[in-house]
Symmetry: C2
Subunit: 208 residues, 2 copies
DNA sequence: AGCGGGATCAGCCAAAAGGCTGAGAGACCA
DNA sequence: TGGTCTCTCAGCCTTTTGGCTGATCCCGCT
């Protein structure tokens, strides 16, 4: 039987090289192409039609990983896309799965985990790293932690370093209301201070 | 002439694997050991005495990269340490150089750049990626805005959302001293509040 | 009609943060 | 030796933030 063909997409040559070396040790897996951007990935896809695409989410300027996944899936739904990234950001996980990713692996995953994910992907199985899975479950169990649109808006401004007064002026609400929203946001994020809120917002929601 | 011996330190197996594959293509460079944490690096150092250490700064829990560099240099100043990391954070650059790093490369560096850095390091030459160098130059032009190593360290912890008290405990200094440092940091960053400091630090320094 | 969630606001109080001035110890350098 | 820089600390005062309770309004759903 023929080997599983794989396309690697990552803007870091070192990471591609490492993945290629790791996957190359498996006789039933073959890396047939590499790409360093979303655009390149789409081209390589047409040329090689790999069975599985292993892709980093963060890819410098240009098309980001999520968008690339969506476009790949639009063109050919048979291809399985595995996300392979450094951070287990809540927002990214949700967006990636929503865009059609079959699996979500972290870069510190064990080689066996990566091999299993690639093999599973071609069979339509979904594989994800333990930390990623636990985050998803936690979100499903605690819908209470989902921010309302207004709260999200406020949090977004908060990450720009505004004071309560400034937030109020920007959103045309009183400082008291700002404080109420903030209290709710802190509770949902599980933090006590605005500094921690900013920090976790940027880290876990990918806000910039 | 014998090959340049190298120790790789990175918590991601994939990255180590990739670096090893890349460096392995060069006849005059030999990867003699790998480590996935600062602690492991110190041990590997004693056993193998490599000429060059290539190390990631961000390494999960435990000893961070900066601390590892400092300890490595304490034990043997002949070893050249090259930082090999994803982000070109101002604060990290200052701290790494202060700790004794010989070079600072980004993970999207070209292979030739990496080879040149390794070869340069054993000859005492300092090599850094273009974005890193330009940051340093910019800082040299505006010395007033350059954070001291201690300030950079504090700012780094600040972005994690700690309070003044926590910062003091973490750094073994009084809260008064923390406030003094913060005042200086705010002045240098051109902000008035800690929230704004965190925000600009993360945006402009690529901190995570 | 009633109920719940979201958004809005107020007041009170304690804790945290920030602005200011001053100052000592140690390192480094001219 | 003197000057400069960095790191350290203290006290005082104002502003900001956070925790708490309670309240009104609107909207959508039952």
């Amino acid at each position: 039987m023929s080997a599983i063909t794989v396309l690697l997409v990552d803007d870091h040559l070192v990471v591609r090289s490492g993945l290629k070396a790791l996957l190359g040790t498996q006789p039933d897996i073959e890396v047939v192409a590499e790409a360093s951007s979303g655009e390149e990935a789409l081209t390589a896809m047409k040329v090689h039609s790999p069975a599985v695409v292993v892709m980093d989410l963060a890819m410098g300027p240009g098309m980001d990983g999520i968008e690339a996944i969506r476009k790949l899936r639009e063109r050919n739904r048979r291809q399985a896309v595995l996300v392979f990234t450094t951070y287990d950001s809540d927002a990214d996980i949700v967006r990636a799965v929503d865009a059609g990713a079959m699996g979500y692996l972290l870069k510190d995953a064990a080689p066996e985990e990566i091999f299993a994910a690639v093999r599973g992907a071609v069979q339509g199985k979904s594989v994800m790293s333990a930390p990623v899975a636990s985050r998803l479950f936690q979100q499903l169990r605690n819908p209470d932690e989902v921010l309302t649109p207004r709260e999200a808006e406020l949090l977004s401004l908060l990450t720009e370093g505004l004071s309560n007064r400034e937030l109020g002026q920007r959103l045309f609400i009183s400082e008291a209301t700002v404080k109420t929203h903030l209290a709710h946001i802190y509770a949902k994020l599980g933090v006590e201070t605005r500094a921690a809120a900013i920090s976790t917002a940027i880290r876990r929601e990918g806000m910039r």
